[in-house]
Subunit: 106 residues, 4 copies
């Protein structure tokens, strides 16, 4: 995400005095709620979806994730790289290649 | 997200031949599933949470969002700015300031 | 649900002194969390699922729904019939038959 | 749930020829989607919620759960009692009493 996009999201919140509502718990609920509006685009069909609607709902998920990074003062690249370290160990290429099994079943 | 972080996420998937599982519908399910592992950190308390666990689950949400942007060939900043245009109209500052009401009730 | 099953669920909670955690908001989170453990059974395939796992997760959703009915002192049949009245109006047979469109698009 | 309520839910589906959409995977998505409309009632506050809205969304979750029991030909009491057997072992009263910890941390 570009710095100006991050700034736009922050300004949207502060202009409306909404930081008071952005507790980590409320943002976790919000991410789940928006994730399910995204899921609703695929409720009855995996292939016949409205791309414009998908874009809007995915954007909503990303905006609330950005709000949560801010609320907890986290660096996006840092937490992702920390988690990718874990994922790469949990799913070694030689075991996981071409498989959709959970790590606990590999 | 830095270009090298995006590249790491992509390499993780292609190394494991997992692009075949990354249909938009499957990724929408995955985003919701991870969003709820994040929500689980706040299941019984809004304030007593395990920050390390929160970081890991938020990272998982962000990684699947990145996968979905890739699966649909979307630009993150473009879809967010498109949605922020909509949000700014739905929630005018003078009406929304300090309120947690939905736009349809403002 | 049989009266003795309902009683078993209630006894499970009171024996553990867990009513204190069963606020409507916490139960709403819990229903979503369990619904997503159910969804995880279908994360990468619609047809290749573990039926035993599905049964366990669907049961968890139903138990938390029962807890929420209790927390709010609601009658299951009453709220379902109230909602079915609404659904039957929103989805008239002649318009909705064979269609998976949302009522707002019918 | 009373037999006549179950019959009403079944008739609603067959009258609209919607059984074709009620795959277990689609119903799992639907349960999560409705669970999150329920969660939305508590998005910004745990205590200031619209009870009528809560009733409607909880009813929707219960209806889709009923549809899933039917789609998989499951007996509600049977799967709940099977799961309660597991829960009672995972959360022994002497360890779990008054605690909101997950069984893996007890």
């Amino acid at each position: 995400m570009k710095p100006e996009t991050i700034e736009r999201i922050r300004k949207f919140t502060t202009d409306r005095d909404w930081d008071q509502f952005h507790s980590p718990a409320n943002l976790a609920k919000s991410i789940s709620i928006e994730a399910n509006e995204l899921l609703e685009c695929f409720q009855w069909s995996d292939t016949d979806y409205d791309l414009q609607h998908v874009k809007e709902e995915l954007a909503d998920v990303l905006v609330y994730c950005r709000d949560m990074l801010d609320a907890l003062d986290l660096d996006e690249d840092e937490i992702i790289n920390m988690k990718m370290d874990m994922n790469e160990k949990k799913y070694p290429v030689e075991k996981a290649k071409g498989s959709n099994k959970k790590y606990s079943e590999l």
